[in-house]
Symmetry: C2
Subunit: 132 residues, 2 copies
């Protein structure tokens, strides 16, 4: 097997550790602050733009719009415009987006579940740094 | 059960969807561009600063240093300074960091494995947008 570091050659696997690999950009869309929360929010089912905005507490209209566009372009979110007046637009996960969101939520729930440990570690760290 | 939205109250679970919840910051340390790659790189074993810098292709010295500090403060990375001259500093995952990295790598490997689908989706998206 060829193990030289040329991740963009078609025969070689994608590798997020290589800065030129396109998988790094996708990982960032998926794990970026708003990308992660948007995928997580859509895991339960389709939502309209304003519903999403309420669920992803703190996101601006512009950031949510950009986030949805990246996720749609990567094939993770499907945008469905209903032919009503005014048009109603729903967002939902694609099957691929659903699989990504599943793994992401596993990570999110794990982090949420261990926050007591994280906060205790922060306290220890801050005390030690103060004493140095 | 009290279901009002006050995620920082000790009895209530942490919730990354609430903007004031400290779990959101930790999720960002873990999933941020450099945080994710740093945790992933350390999953295989401890590394020195310069080894890490080479592995996390594209990271600056300053960003890697800040990333390691956040991860250390959250209790995910352990920093071990050897009493040599010059001092040798190794970084390794804590048990909690190891569990986080495991879930993160599950996501990373999944994304890497589906990049052909992502790139095909991007091409379809760009063609459709061009035709509008």
């Amino acid at each position: 097997m060829d193990t030289t570091q040329q991740p963009v050659e078609p025969q070689l696997p994608y590798d997020v550790f290589a800065k030129a690999c396109p998988s790094r950009g996708t990982l960032e869309h998926v794990t970026g602050r708003w990308g992660a929360l948007t995928l997580g929010a859509l895991y339960e089912g389709s939502l309209r733009f304003n519903e999403l905005r309420r669920r992803v507490d703190g996101v601006s209209e512009k950031m949510l719009s950009q986030t949805l566009q990246s996720l749609e372009r990567d094939g993770l979110v499907h945008r469905e415009a209903q032919p009503t007046n005014p048009p109603r637009v729903d967002y939902e996960l694609t099957p691929l987006g659903h699989e990504v969101a599943e793994r992401l939520l596993g990570l999110i729930h794990f982090v949420e579940g261990r926050m007591d440990d994280v906060l205790a570690a922060r306290e220890r760290y801050d005390v030690t740094r103060g004493a140095r």
